[in-house]
């Protein structure tokens, strides 16, 4: 089929300003264990191709799952017709930033192919973790899941790009829900979305789900008896997986340059980080440095090339608190007279690429967590996301967490439940006065980032270690 797509691109070359074709096959396997039984095992294959064209400065895209050269020719013509309809409301020509067309291959480095591991072996891990969680009599719902992806994709363009990639992802997680006295409390491990990486089955084995099942259940049960989160202003230590989501919502999304230019305005919203702020706006304190890095080993947002054929890169977003860069595409980068930093990603063959996060990582600091707790007089330490909400310019946010610990005079006094904190993004990051060291740093995979119409789900990640924020409003 690759040759057929090449032939079709050759044939339409004269009729278009630019065209690219993506041939994608995605295989996934999802296993869900619940309350001692295998709730579902689902295996999916999706294969098809999409052709994106620029005609007279206007975009068109069409796609199909029928893999023949005749269908590819029809889809290409359909994309051209769609681009001509786009022209009816044209205001300016689409211009792409310069990019050297690459001929290359890329494959995720793995030790153990997750699709070569038997279902029985996978299920036995989840059932054993589930059994241990249910030993705790307060646990009413015990859950475990694994999911694996293999994405084979070919990218071809009329500029001469010819890139083949194989991306493999492995993920898993467990959760225990305790119910009693009209209250429901849930604990997850290793995070509320589990954890997922561009790695093989070894990543799941390293999680040690079974070893952590008892503690997960105990914490859920203990939360039923814990006092409510206090209300007021407290110093807040945010642990890694929750901080990953904080970075995601309050830094990742507002730095997507298509949002900034308004193309998500009617759905996900726009951004407070408008272009005149780049290079001079204080986003956070001097302790805050954030990079987009699609090159870091094992991150869920790691790849060889984005879906415009731009090589994976590591570029600064926030340096020592100053906002310095966006996530870009070839079209949006050109508007800033820059080159794309490779953040265009599509959710399958039937979707166009949009600007998506890769691995958006908060650089580690030099604190030991133990010292940070000891240095906190009146605070709260929170972990594992429970609820999330942020306004459509990404300023006012509210997060709830599964678990929190009250800190007084440098000591953890005990658990509190239903912790909620809220703030305004730049004020919040300006209050960051400490970030823990690389010893605590982990790249947390988030496999459920939604954006665009039709909705696309991206698999992204965020490196973070625990950090402290001063005088944060907590409680409802």
């Amino acid at each position: 089929m690759k040759d057929a797509l090449k032939n079709v691109l050759d044939k339409i070359r004269q009729a278009v300003d630019y065209a690219d074709a993506r041939l994608v096959t995605t295989r996934s396997e999802k296993i869900l264990v619940k309350n001692g039984a295998v709730d579902s095992i689902a295996d999916e294959v999706s294969r098809g191709f999409g052709i994106r064209v620029i005609v007279d400065g206007c975009w068109g895209f069409s796609s199909s799952s029928v893999l023949t050269e005749a269908e590819a020719a029809r889809v290409a013509q359909e994309a051209i017709e769609i681009a001509r309809a786009t022209k009816l409301l044209k205001k300016w020509d689409v211009v792409l930033s310069e990019e050297e067309p690459k001929v290359d291959t890329y494959e995720t480095r793995i030790i153990k192919d997750p699709f070569s591991v038997s279902l029985d072996d996978k299920i036995s891990i989840l059932l054993e973790a589930d059994r241990i969680m249910r030993k705790n009599r307060m646990i009413r719902v015990s859950e475990g899941s694994m999911q694996f992806y293999r994405i084979d994709k070919v990218f071809l363009s009329t500029e001469g790009a010819d890139i083949e990639q194989t991306i493999i992802e492995s993920g898993a997680g467990i959760a225990a829900t305790a119910i009693g006295n009209g209250d429901v409390q849930k604990r997850s491990y290793p995070a509320s979305w589990g954890d997922t990486a561009t790695r093989g089955f070894e990543f799941v084995q390293e999680m040690k789900l079974v070893d952590n099942a008892e503690k997960t259940a105990e914490e859920a049960a203990a939360l039923l008896k814990a006092p409510e989160c206090p209300t007021g202003e407290l110093d807040l230590i945010i642990c890694g997986s929750q901080l990953a989501l904080q970075v995601h919502e309050s830094c990742g999304h507002p730095t997507e340059l298509d949002r900034v230019f308004g193309t998500e305005a009617s759905f996900a919203g726009t951004s407070f980080l408008t272009v005149e702020k780049m290079g001079n706006f204080r986003y956070g304190s001097e302790h805050v440095s954030i990079f987009q890095d699609a090159t870091c080993e094992g991150g869920l947002g790691t790849f060889g090339y984005d879906d415009e054929g731009v090589p994976a890169q590591r570029t600064p977003i926030v340096e020592k608190g100053i906002f310095v860069g966006y996530l870009t595409s070839r079209e949006t980068a050109a508007k800033l007279n820059r080159r794309s930093n490779g953040c265009m990603r599509a959710d399958g063959w039937n979707r166009i690429p949009l600007i998506r996060m890769t691995n958006i990582n908060l650089e580690p600091g030099d604190w030991e967590l133990e010292h940070l707790i000891r240095d906190t007089k009146d605070g709260l330490m929170v972990d594992s996301n429970k609820s999330w909400s942020i306004d459509d310019k990404r300023l006012n946010f509210q997060f709830g967490t599964e678990i929190a610990w009250r800190i007084k005079n440098g000591k953890i006094e005990g658990l509190v439940k239903n912790a909620v904190y809220t703030g305004i993004t730049p004020e919040f990051w300006a209050s960051c006065d400490a970030v823990c060291s690389a010893k605590y740093w982990h790249i947390w995979g988030i496999p459920s980032c939604g954006k665009g119409e039709p909705m696309q789900v991206a698999h992204v990640a965020h490196g973070a270690s625990p950090a402290r924020f001063r005088k944060v409003r907590v409680g409802v």
Binding site: I41, A42, D43, R47, L88, L89, G182
Partner: protein, 447 residues
Amino acid sequence: MLGEQRALEILKKLLSMVEVEQAEAVLLGKASGLTRFANSTIHQNVYEKDTVILLRVAKGKKIGVARSNLTDTESLKQLARRAAEIADSQVPNPNFESFAHSPRAPEVGAFYEETANCNPTQRAENVKLVIAEADKFGFLAAGSHSTTANEIAYANSLGTTQYHRHTAAYMNTVIMSPTSSGYADYSSLNIADFDARKVGERATRICADSQNPREIEEGRYDVVVSPEAVDEIMNWLSYIGFGAESLQEGRSFMSGRLGERIMGENISIWDDGLDPKGIPMPFDFEGVPKQRIAIIERGVAKNVTYSIITAHKEGKHSTGHALPPGEEIAALPTNVFFGTGEHTVDEMIASLKRGLLVTRFHYINGLLDTRRALFTGMTRDGTFYVEDGKIKYPVKNLRFTDSMLEAFSKVEMISKEAKLQLSSWYGANVVPALKIKDFNFSGKTEF
């Protein structure tokens, strides 16, 4: 679109390849065009066509599910083999007895050729009408306009077959000035019903009226909430509370409270898959005809929706609300209706002594405390302060955090008109505007 005959032929061919006690197969066909615009120009214009087949096989009580969009003979054989292999690795599900042995669901007309055949030029012409409204004020228009044709075919080894097709046309727009924005949307089965100019006009009017918003203090306000905003709440209520699993597991605000009053007497919510005022779907993804289910009746928690397996756990029959196998949730209502009242929205605003008019909510999250239905979210695209029945001025956006059980116990007025809101997931809600007393706003933002 394959049509009923071809779709069922494919499914029967697949079922003939499966050597197990029972099997069921679902075919989902989709052809969809979508035109997106921003800065008053089209920036995305796409088309997709796909056919996905889901196969669920049962070896005794061991169930395997496989899914593929490859429909050639060899791929169907592979799909059958894979589902059987998965079933072999399964443990028996004690709550599985049998796939559906159902009669043919009643037909409901929901397919319009005008929508199915709508081309990108027609969509662009509609977008042009919206932009023209924004242009009158020098504002910028953003939004999307889609036209979709869907078909679903079901067949199982017990002889149950079903087929349904429907279309949907949808448009949303946000019109923006330098200091404000306004939102409007419209959903319909038939594109011929569309008046894109009206969509643009409403959003433009809200945008014009909400320029230069003032800051207002957080706190409790009586509010009039538009259908678009009520829709956002309904999606979360369905997700956390109207399916059987959350009830059975004790996580839901419905758990242990069936038969009890949990909302005001003026609140009734039901699901009716056959009502053409929504996006009808006469059977579910297990081939079971949909029943009309009263979920909340005059404030009393009455029922939740069931799939075959969740129903068996309680010794009940499926209500016909199963989602596709492999989804996170087994059953949900997908054609939800909220009982209307007798007021116009203008009357509801006129009755506010001191309150807010909310035209849209954003990024609601209903996981704070699912037993209380404690939700948080932001206002968006036009919020107004109302005093003595008159809209006084636009206000900057606010965050609410409140229990929806408490809020829906304090609904003082309900509009007589309900609006169809297409879901981005499955189906739709048909919801009115509400006037709610003492709604809790817990925070504010800068715009």
